[in-house]
Each structure stands twice: as C-alpha cells, then as structure tokens.
C-alpha cells in the first residue's frame, strides 16, 4: 500500500515541485497567459503521448510519430491549398483539411500496425523505417524547403489554435477531452483492458479469446488518428510544414509515457500519468525560459537531470517491482 501511493504520487509530486519552483523564480509564471501557453503547447505532444500510452501498454513502440506529424501536416497543407480554389476560404475548407489530416493519420497508423501485426516485424524496426520514410517524403514534397498554407486560409484557420471558449483555448480543451477519454478507455473499456493483458502476456490474452493482433493494430491506428488530431491543432499555429516539423516528438512522447509510470515493457498503462509526464516536460522548458539559470548550452543537461530526478521520486515502485 505504501509503495502504491508512492508510485501514484511520484510524478504528481515532481509536477508540484516544478510549479512551486516556477512560481518562485518568476512572478508571471502563474499568470493566465503563461499557463495557457504551457498547456496549449503541451497539447500536441500530449495527445500523441496518450495514444503512445496504449501502444506501449500493449507491448509496442512507435518511433515514427514525429515524422508522421510532419507528413500529415504537409499533406494537410497541400490538400487545403489545392482545394482552396474550389471551396474558397471558409469552414468547408478547414473541415476538409481536418478530414485529410485524420484520414492520413489513420492510414499511416494502419500501415505501421499492419506491418507489425501481419508481417510480424518488431515495432522498433517498422517504426524506425517509417520514421525515415515519412520525414523524407515531407522533405521531398516540400523540395527541401517549407510547405506553407495559403496566407488567407491560415488567417481563417488561426483561431483553431488561438481561439477558444470560456477563456480556454481549443488545444487545451481538445487535449483535456482526449486525456479524459483516454483514461476512461484505459481503465473502463475492453480495449484498455486488452492492451494491458497483451502487454502483460500476449499468449494468455490469446488463450482468453482476446483478438491480440486486432487490438494491437487498433493501438497503432488510434495513435495515428491522434497524431492527425494533434496536427490539426498544430498547423494553425505555425501554418507550415517542413523536414524539421515534429523533430524528436517521438522521444518526448515516449519519455512522457515512461515518466508517467507506464512500464516500457508493457502490461501496465496510466493515461493520467502520461498527462502529468507531458506537463513535466513542458514545464521544464518553460522554467528554463523563465529564469536565466545558466548558459543556454546547459539547458539539455538541466533537462536531463530533472527528468531523472522526477523519476527518482517514484523509485519506490520500480525497485519493488524489480524483485
């Protein structure tokens, strides 16, 4: 019981410590503006990390999400620019763009999932491969440069990132909904249960009438769709896609999942932990910007130290499980 509460509170404690540190370092840290900024920018990685939680819980891995985001953004921009003359600027154009993003995300996830479940290749290899493929394709389509959304269209689309209701911007709202649905799916649906069972022991799951391949496939497809959703919110922010869009997002998403207490080997997933993990990572960046702590060259080092420390706080769990 003591271990349980330690492991549960570990990441939360780290998050609270960071908030206190931030408030101490800069008076504006707790301003509505800054909080909105941090939450909104966590939303992209956040949604992806929620999907990644299911993939990892069921014993998989996806290294391609960052490139996939770049690829989806590229396709979405291309599609919107192409449809612009026909649809004109307005809600239909934006909706069509969103449909393209979700569709491409779904197909990309499906491609990963099929290669992993049908062809039986290690997830690490498949997604390492598609990581290269997606990123090259964007670079190629953009001819080495940047794909930009038409300026007018972008102005129209902009509020999807910057606007909102009740003073809460859309990315935050959508992320919150995704997180809550994800937590529900993990805890309260068959899908989540099967993910845990497969990650824990796929043979047992297969013997218990769980359609192992189908569930695994669904985790990759769901992740693809969530990457699509993240892209829908990302494009109005930057209005462009290039070979460097979404660089290293995969590492950040996986790190958030692990910091949140999900086991890398699968079998146990915690969506709310992932959300906390994402916030921890965003806050570290934010705090480094809040204060002139040290040479900017050392940002990476401080980041590294804090990540390790955040996990040390939940060490009780790992060592108890390790034996």
């Amino acid at each position: 019981m003591r271990n349980l509460s330690l492991s549960t509170l570990g990441p939360l404690a780290a998050l609270i410590l960071l908030v206190v540190l931030g408030a101490f370092l800069n008076a504006n840290f707790l301003s509505a503006g800054n909080i909105t900024n941090v939450l909104a920018r966590s939303a992209f990685i956040g949604m992806i990390a929620v999907g990644m939680t299911f993939v990892i819980t069921s014993g998989g891995l996806d290294l391609s999400v960052g490139s996939m985001a770049a690829f989806i953004a590229g396709m979405m921009i291309l599609a919107m620019n192409a449809m612009l003359p026909t649809l004109g600027i307005g809600v239909p154009l934006v909706l069509a763009g969103m449909a393209v993003a979700l569709g491409v995300g779904l197909l990309a996830g499906l491609a990963n999932g099929l290669l992993i479940t049908r062809a039986g290749i290690e997830p690490f290899i498949v997604t390492l491969g598609t990581m290269g493929i997606f990123r090259s394709l964007v670079t190629w389509i953009a001819d080495g440069g940047t794909l930009s959304l038409d300026f007018e269209a972008r102005q129209f689309y902009r509020p999807v990132y910057y606007g909102g209701i009740f003073g809460i911007t859309w990315p935050i709202l959508v992320f919150a909904v995704v997180a809550v649905l994800g937590e529900l799916a993990m805890r309260r649906t068959r899908f989540g249960r099967y993910c845990e069972a497969i990650g824990s022991n796929d043979r047992v799951a297969r013997y218990s009438a769980v359609k192992v391949e189908r569930v695994q496939l669904m985790t990759y497809v769901a992740l693809g769709v969530l990457v699509g959703l993240a892209t829908i919110l990302y494009v109005p922010r930057l209005g462009s896609a290039s070979g460097s869009t979404g660089l290293l997002w995969e590492l950040e998403a996986i790190a958030a999942v692990i910091i949140g207490g999900t086991a890398l080997k699968g079998g146990y997933g915690r969506v709310w932990g992932t959300v906390v993990g994402v916030l921890i990572l965003s806050l570290i960046d934010n705090i480094l910007n809040l204060a002139d702590l040290v040479s900017p060259y050392l940002n990476g080092a401080i980041q590294g130290v804090i990540i390790v420390l955040a996990v040390v706080l939940q060490r009780g769990k790992s060592s108890a499980e390790g034996r």
Binding site: S31, R41, G144, G145, L238, L247, N289
Partner: protein, 295 residues
C-alpha cells in the same frame, strides 16, 4: 531615459553545427559586453532545436519576461511569422536576423546575410577559374529554404559556363557527414576538378577525405562562412583552399547592438542591413581572421 530599464529577448537556433555555434558564441559574447556597458538593459537569451520550440520561447518571453524588444533569427521563416507578428502587435520592437519572415513589414529592423550572394559569389569564382567541361561536386546543407537559395544561386552563376555538376548530396553542414559523402564521391568519380562545400565545417571534412584518398593535388575546395581555420589557410595561400566566401555569424552581434542602441540612445536604427557575402582571397584574408572566436 537613463533610469528606465529595458529587457531585450534574443531567440536563436541552438548550436547544432559550426556556423550556428559561432552565432551562439557571438550572441553570448555581445550580450555580456552590452550588459556591462548598459546596466539598465537586460537580455534574455533562448536557443531552440526546432521551430516549435522557438515559438514556445518567444511566447514565454512575451508572457513572463516582459520584453521590450525581440531579436530573432527564425529557425524557419514560415512558422515564425505569426508568433513574431504577435510580438510586434503587442507593441514591442522586433529585429529579424538572417532569415526574413514570410510577410513583409513586420520587423522594425532587418539584419541579414545574403544567401543568394553567398551562392553567387562562389559560383562566379568557379566560373572564372575552371575551364569548360570541368567537373565539380557539391555538398549541400540541411534541407531548408536557405540551402535551396544558395544552391540555386550557385548553379545559376555557373550556368552556361560548361562546368558540369556531377553530384549534389546533403552533408548537413556537418564535418562527419561531409567526410562520408566526399569519400563516396571519390569512389564514384575518377576525376573531380573542384568541390563546392558551401560551409567551412563541411570543407574541413571534405579536405580530410581527399587527403585520405591521396588526391590532394587533383582538386580545390571552396567552403563558406569564414571559419578561422579556413581563413587562415586562405591567408597562407593554401592551394587546396584558394578562397572562401563570408557569411559572418557576427551579424547577430550587429543586430543585438543596434537593437540596444534603439533603446539607450536616440539614434534611428530601423531599416534593412544586408551584410553581403565577400570573396576572401589571400590578399584580404587578414581582415576576416578572428583567432579568438570559437568559429
């Protein structure tokens, strides 16, 4: 306005390759110097590894550091245009360095190198010093718009000269990658007359590969940006690196200095300052040689 204090935000890409390393060094050096000179000016420096992070940094400066002015070297033009415009719309001074925004008229001050000239100056040197039918290879940078501009300008400059470009692969402005790519060029092409490495870091890797293959006398190399090792060689009349093309990382210093001047003095500093790319030859090399810079 002596008693009023000002905060200036500086947002640049992180030191992922030699040129950016030099730029980072100049930015920090300038900030240190200016902070000592003007006690009432504070600087906030942030470095980013990708455009999204740079947007985060700028948002943070606006929301929490109450900056009065921003000096920004956009990682990429497109994605940074909106966020920088938001800074401008908040009534702040904006200085854009090196890579222009995709919409005109946002910035108060624009300080930049000239990518087109960078490619063109090198191209013209090739045109003038190689016979028709000469074979050259190109090492490109990281796939970006500015790399495209340079390569296009280079190719335009040699267009019609009869010089043949055998190959152009990405060396990513990285010494190791350039070394590998050059090794493979050397295996592939029995005869190469000259190499345009487009960056001095890459030029060093290229020279190493050529030396290892024992083909030092066969070809010469032109890099770019003005790294001290290369300038030194030009100065010493090394036949392998006859010239270099400047693209000074110190442009960030000018940008920061001019922005600071705007706040601490009445001097009018707005406008566009384009720092052209010059050909460094053994004759003029001494004036481009800064032995203390890490770049």
């Amino acid at each position: 306005a002596e008693d009023k204090t000002y905060t200036i935000g500086v947002s640049i890409p992180s030191a992922t390759h030699g040129f950016m390393g030099g730029l980072n060094w100049h930015a920090q050096d300038t900030i240190k110097r200016l902070e000592a000179t003007y006690p009432n000016v504070k600087f906030v420096l942030a470095t980013a590894g990708e455009p999204g992070k740079q947007v985060d940094d700028i948002e943070d400066m606006l929301a929490t550091r109450n900056i009065d002015g921003l000096v920004v070297l956009p990682f990429e033009s497109e994605p940074l245009t909106g966020p920088v415009k938001a800074v401008k719309d908040a009534g702040k001074w904006v200085t854009v360095v090196d890579r222009g925004l995709s919409q005109p008229g946002i910035e108060d001050l624009y300080v930049a190198g000239d990518n087109t000239a960078f490619g063109q100056v090198a191209g013209e040197y090739f045109r003038e010093n190689l016979p028709s039918g000469a074979k050259v290879v190109i090492l490109r940078g990281i796939p970006t718009t500015l790399d495209n501009e340079r390569v296009d300008a280079f190719e335009k400059a040699i267009d019609g000269s009869g010089i043949e470009v055998l190959d152009k692969q990405h060396g990513n402005w990285n010494r190791d990658d350039a070394f590998t790519v050059m090794q493979d060029y050397l295996s592939k092409y029995p005869k190469i007359d000259a190499v345009w490495a487009a960056d001095d870091d890459m030029a060093l890797g290229v020279m190493e590969a050529i030396a290892a293959a024992g083909r030092t006398d066969e070809m010469w190399i032109v890099g770019g940006a003005g790294m001290k090792e290369i300038i030194k060689r030009v100065m010493d009349g090394d036949k392998q690196v006859p010239v270099d093309v400047t693209y000074p990382p110190a442009q960030i210093s000018s940008a920061i200095e001019m922005t600071t001047l705007h706040f601490v003095s009445a001097a009018p500093v707005s406008g566009r300052f384009i720092i052209g790319s010059t050909l460094v030859t053994p004759e003029n090399a001494a004036q481009f040689y800064f032995p203390d810079s890490p770049f």
